[in-house]
C-alpha cells in the first residue's frame, strides 16, 4: 500500500513538474562575488542576494518603495522611526522572523568588515519594543533614510549563531559560511552554488507575498566571453543574457526567436586617481605622486576623447557624462553642470609640462574585464589616448574578483589609477557622495579607492544628509559637485545603456534602470521552457 502511494505521489510530482516547469536560465559576464548580504556591494551580487534575502522595505522594478519585512512605518519624531514587522514570516530553514533578527542584522551590517553600512548610515540604534515592533533612532533627521533601507538585508539570528557567522568577512569570494551559504526570507531560496559555474535558486513555497513570477527554478551561469554568451542565447541554452555585446544588438533583433530589451542605466562609469599616497606606487623612490597635482588630473581629463569612446567603443550606446551621477538620480544637479572638459591633447601636454612632467610618467591602470559594458575596450582606448600625451600607462586587466580585491579597502586601495562604475543603490545623490566622493566621517569612502578628500565637499555632504528642504539640499549638492569638478576628483566618462537579450521563452521581464535581474519580475511563457528544449534547432534562422 505504502509503495503504491509512493508511486502515485512520484507520478503526481513528475506530472506537476513537467507541466509547469518554468526553468529560467540567465547569464552575465561574471559570477556574483559571494552570498553574504553584508559584504561585496556590487550590482550583480546585490541583485542575487536580494532574490534570497529581504529588507524592511523592498524597492520595486520602477524604484518605488514597498513594505517587505516591515508592514508599516511612521516617523514618530524627526529622529525616531517606528516599524511594525510582518508576522508569520519564516526563514528558508524554517526559523521564525522577529525583531531580534533585525537587531542582530543591524549589529552585523555595522561591523568593521561590512561593506553595506551605508544602508543604515544615520541609524544610531534600533530598539525592540516588542517581538514585532522596533524603533530606529537616527543621529540626525534623515530625509533619505527610507531610500537606503532596502539594502539592509535581514539575516536569521539562530542561523548566524549556529554557524558562527556573526561577523562578515570582507573580500570577493571569501570562504566564510555566510558567503557560501544563504538563508533569507526572500521569494527564492538557494539550492546549489558552485562558484564561477552556477547558482541555482528555487521559489520559496512559504513566502509571505503573492509571487508575480511564474518560474519554478532559476539557473544563473556566468559566461565571460561575449560571443559565447550570445551563442548561448541564440541556441536556446539561455533565456536571458546581459549585457548584450553592443556589436550584436542588430544581429539579435534580426533573429526570430530572440529580442533585445534596451533602456537607460543609472550607472556612471568613471576614472579615479590615487590622491592620498605621497609617492606613486609606480614611481618608487621618486617621492612623487603626480595625481596629487590637480593640473595632472586635469591633463588626463583633457587627453580623453569621450565622444570617440561613446561613438566607437560603445557604438553610441552611452551618454557622455560630466557629473558623477546620472539624470534620474534624486538630486541630479542638472544639464548645465553636466559638461565635460573639452578633448584637447595639446592642453593636456601643456598642463603636464607645467606640473613638472614634460616627459610624462609611468602609471599602472587597474581595469576589470568582466564588470562593465566594454570595460576592457574602454581601458585600452584610454591607454592609447594617454600614451599620446606622454603618460606611460601600463594596463592591468583582471577579472572583477581580483580587481575589486586589489583596488578596494580589502587590498588597501592598492591602485594609482582605475576605472570604476557606480550606481547609487538608494537612487539618491547622497549615496555617491558618501561611498565614492568623501572619506569622512566613519563609514564613508568604501569605494573612494583613490581617497579623494576635500574638507569642503565632506562638510557639504554632512549638510546634504541632514537637509530636509529640497531646494536648499539641491543647492548644497550643486556646490559639492562644482568643487569636485574643479578638483577633478574623478573623471566621469559616461552612462552606459542597458541591453538585455531575451529568448521568446520569456513573456515579460521588468527591467530596472540598473544592469541586473530581479527574479521577482520574470514571467515565462507557459509551457515554452519545455518546448524550446525540443525545438530550439528548428525555429532558428540560418
Amino acid at each position: 500500500m505504502a509503495i503504491v502511494l509512493l508511486l502515485v505521489n512520484l507520478l503526481a510530482a513528475f506530472l506537476a513538474s513537467s507541466a509547469t516547469a518554468e526553468i529560467f536560465r540567465y547569464s552575465t559576464t561574471g559570477d556574483i562575488l559571494g552570498l553574504d548580504p553584508h559584504t561585496n556591494n556590487e550590482g550583480t551580487t546585490n541583485a542575487m542576494k536580494m532574490n534570497i534575502y529581504e529588507g524592511l522595505l523592498h524597492r520595486a522594478w520602477d524604484l518605488s518603495l514597498h513594505p517587505a519585512l516591515a508592514t508599516q512605518w511612521q516617523q514618530v519624531e524627526p529622529t525616531r522611526w517606528r516599524f511594525n514587522l510582518r508576522q508569520g514570516v519564516k526563514f528558508h530553514n524554517g526559523n521564525t522572523f522577529d525583531a531580534d533578527d533585525v537587531l542582530v542584522s543591524f549589529d552585523r551590517i555595522r561591523s568593521s568588515q561590512s561593506d553595506m553600512s551605508y544602508a543604515v548610515g544615520t541609524v544610531s540604534s534600533i530598539n525592540k519594543i516588542d517581538a514585532y515592533t522596533i524603533e530606529l533612532v537616527t543621529t540626525v533627521p534623515d530625509p533619505t533614510l527610507l531610500l537606503a533601507l532596502p539594502a539592509f538585508l535581514i539575516m536569521d539570528q539562530q542561523w548566524l549563531e549556529q554557524n558562527e557567522a556573526m561577523q562578515p568577512v570582507r573580500g570577493t569570494m571569501a570562504g566564510n559560511f555566510a558567503n557560501t551559504h544563504a538563508n533569507g526570507t526572500g521569494p527564492f531560496r538557494l539550492v546549489e552554488r558552485q562558484a564561477d559555474t552556477r547558482t541555482v535558486l528555487e521559489p520559496n513555497a512559504d513566502w509571505w507575498g503573492e509571487p508575480r513570477h511564474n518560474i519554478t527554478k532559476a539557473i544563473f551561469q556566468p559566461i565571460a566571453n561575449d560571443a559565447t554568451r550570445v551563442a548561448a542565447l541564440l541556441t536556446g541554452e539561455m533565456d536571458l543574457i546581459y549585457p548584450v555585446p553592443l556589436q550584436d544588438i542588430d544581429r539579435i533583433n534580426r533573429t526570430d526567436h530572440v529580442r533585445t530589451l534596451e533602456g537607460p542605466e543609472l550607472r556612471t562609469i568613471f576614472l579615479g586617481f590615487d590622491q592620498w599616497r605621497d609617492e606613486s606606487l609606480d614611481m618608487p623612490g621618486s617621492g612623487r605622486n603626480p595625481f596629487k597635482d590637480v593640473r595632472v588630473r586635469r591633463a588626463v581629463y583633457h587627453a580623453i576623447d569621450e565622444q570617440a569612446i561613446a561613438r566607437v567603443v560603445m557604438r553610441g550606446a552611452a551618454r557622455p557624462a560630466g557629473l558623477m551621477i546620472a539624470p534620474g538620480i534624486n538630486g541630479y544637479p542638472g544639464e548645465p553642470m553636466d559638461q565635460r572638459l573639452p578633448y584637447d591633447p595639446a592642453m593636456a601636454k601643456r598642463l603636464l609640462a607645467e606640473a613638472g612632467y614634460p616627459d610624462g610618467f609611468p602609471v599602472t591602470f587597474d581595469c576589470p574585464t568582466d564588470r562593465y559594458v566594454k570595460d576592457e575596450a574602454i581601458c585600452t582606448a584610454i591607454v592609447s589616448m594617454l600614451q599620446r600625451v606622454g603618460i606611460r600607462v601600463i594596463p592591468n586587466f583582471q577579472t572583477k574578483t581580483l580587481y575589486f580585491d586589489k583596488i578596494s579597502i580589502k587590498g588597501g586601495n592598492r591602485t594609482s589609477f582605475f576605472l570604476l562604475g557606480w550606481t547609487p543603490n538608494t537612487f539618491d545623490v547622497f549615496n555617491t557622495l558618501q561611498n565614492v566622493m568623501t572619506m569622512h566621517p566613519e563609514g564613508h569612502g568604501i569605494f573612494n579607492c583613490g581617497r579623494y578628500s576635500n574638507p569642503e565637499v565632506e562638510q557639504l555632504t554632512v549638510q546634504i544628509q541632514r537637509e530636509t528642504d529640497p531646494q536648499k539640499r539641491d543647492a548644497l549638492v550643486r556646490e559639492a559637485f562644482r568643487i569636485h569638478q574643479e578638483d577633478v576628483g574623478h573623471i566621469p566618462l559616461h552612462q552606459q545603456y542597458l541591453a538585455w537579450g531575451m529568448a521568446d521563452t520569456v513573456a515579460e521581464i521588468k527591467q530596472r534602470p540598473f544592469n541586473d535581474v530581479d527574479l521577482r519580475y520574470v514571467v515565462m511563457r507557459s509551457g515554452t521552457a519545455a518546448a524550446a528544449q525540443t525545438s530550439s534547432g528548428g525555429d532558428r534562422k540560418p
Partner: protein, 319 residues
C-alpha cells in the same frame, strides 16, 4: 655509422658540421623535386621569421605602440570591401589597430615567446638527458620518473599550472612586466621532457661506442666528452624535436593568450588578436578573427612541415 665509429677526439665537430651540411643540402635538393609543399612551407616559415625580425620596418603601422591607435579608424573592413581603406589592407579592429600590422607584430611576439621557450627547453632537456645518460643509476631513475609523471599530463595543463604559480609568485603590480618571461618559462618547462628522453636514450647508446671509450682512455674530462663528442652525434633528433616543438609552442602560446592568461593585451600576439576578434565573430566583423587565425594556421603548419622535412633529411636510416 661507420663514420661515427672512426671519429676520435679533436676533429669530431668540424666533420660533424660538414656532414650535417651535406645531408641538408642533399636532402633539400631531393625534397625540391619530391615535394613542392615543403618548399612552400620553407618559404613561408622563412617569410614569417623575416617578418618577425623586421616587423618595425615592414608593418605599415606601429601597433606595438598603443599611442598610435586611432579610434576614428576602428572597425574598418578589409580594403576590398565597402568602407575599406588602402592604409588598412586587412581592416582594423575595435581599437583602430591595423590588422596587417597587428598580425606582423603578433607573429613576432608568438615567434619570440615560442622560440625562446623552445631554446630554453632544449638547453634544459639536453643537459638533463646527457647527465642521465652518462651517470645512470639512481639520479637517472629519479629524473626520468619525474619526466614520466610530467609526460602523463597534457602540456597545456602544465603550462597553465606553472603560469598560474608564476603569477601568484610575482606581485600583482608586476604582472605585466613578468607576463612574458613567466609565459616563456612555463612553456619551456612543459617541453623539456621529450628532449631529455631522446637525448638520454641516444647518449646511453653512444657512450658505449668505441670513439667514446677511446676518448675516455685518453683521459678526457667527462664533460668534454659529453659536449664535444657525444652531443654532436646525437644532435640531429634534438633539432627535429625542437623544430616541431616550436610549432607546438606557438599553439600553446596562442591558446593561453586566447584564454587571456598569455601576453598582455597591449602587445597582442596572434592568440590575443584572435581573442579580441572572437567577440565580433557573429556580429559580421569577421576579419578581426579570421586573418589572425589564418596567420596562426599558416605559421604553425609551415613550421611543422619544416620540422618533418628536417626529420626526413637528418634520419640516417633514410639517407
Amino acid at each position: 655509422m661507420a663514420n661515427a665509429r672512426t671519429r676520435i677526439a679533436g676533429g669530431t665537430r668540424t666533420r660533424f658540421s660538414a656532414h650535417l651540411g651535406r645531408r641538408l643540402v642533399r636532402g633539400c635538393a631531393d625534397q625540391l623535386i619530391d615535394s613542392p609543399a615543403t618548399v612552400v612551407a620553407l618559404l613561408l616559415a622563412f617569410g614569417f621569421c623575416t617578418m618577425a625580425v623586421f616587423a618595425p620596418w615592414l608593418a605599415p603601422h606601429d601597433t606595438s605602440d598603443v599611442g598610435t591607435l586611432d579610434l576614428m579608424q576602428a572597425l574598418r573592413p578589409p580594403v576590398w570591401l565597402e568602407g575599406g581603406d588602402w592604409a588598412y589592407l586587412l581592416g582594423t579592429d575595435d581599437q583602430g589597430r591595423d590588422m596587417l600590422s597587428g598580425i606582423i607584430f603578433g607573429a613576432r611576439t608568438s615567434l619570440l615567446v615560442s622560440g625562446v621557450a623552445v631554446l630554453l627547453a632544449t638547453l634544459l632537456g639536453t643537459a638533463v638527458g646527457l647527465f642521465c645518460g652518462w651517470v645512470g643509476g639512481r639520479p637517472d631513475a629519479v629524473l626520468m620518473r619525474i619526466a614520466e609523471v610530467q609526460l602523463s599530463f597534457p602540456a597545456i595543463l602544465i603550462v597553465l599550472l606553472i603560469d598560474g604559480l608564476g603569477r601568484t609568485a610575482v606581485s600583482t603590480d608586476l604582472h605585466n612586466v613578468a607576463a612574458v618571461p613567466v609565459l616563456i618559462i612555463a612553456i619551456a618547462l612543459s617541453n623539456w621532457v621529450q628532449i631529455a628522453r631522446t637525448v638520454r636514450g641516444s647518449s646511453m647508446a653512444e657512450k658505449n661506442k668505441e670513439y667514446v671509450q677511446a676518448a675516455r682512455v685518453l683521459g678526457i674530462h667527462p664533460a668534454a666528452i659529453l659536449l664535444r663528442h657525444i652531443l654532436p652525434n646525437i644532435f640531429a633528433p634534438v633539432l627535429v624535436i625542437a623544430t616541431l616543438g616550436i610549432a607546438g609552442a606557438i599553439l600553446t602560446e596562442a591558446t593561453l593568450s586566447f584564454l587571456g592568461v598569455g601576453v598582455p593585451p597591449t602587445q597582442p600576439s596572434l592568440g590575443t588578436l584572435i581573442r579580441f576578434g572572437n567577440n565580433f565573430l557573429i556580429s559580421g566583423e569577421w576579419w578581426m578573427t579570421v586573418f589572425p587565425g589564418l596567420a596562426l594556421v599558416l605559421l604553425a603548419l609551415s613550421v611543422n612541415i619544416v620540422g618533418d622535412w628536417l626529420r626526413d633529411v637528418l634520419n640516417p636510416k633514410l639517407s
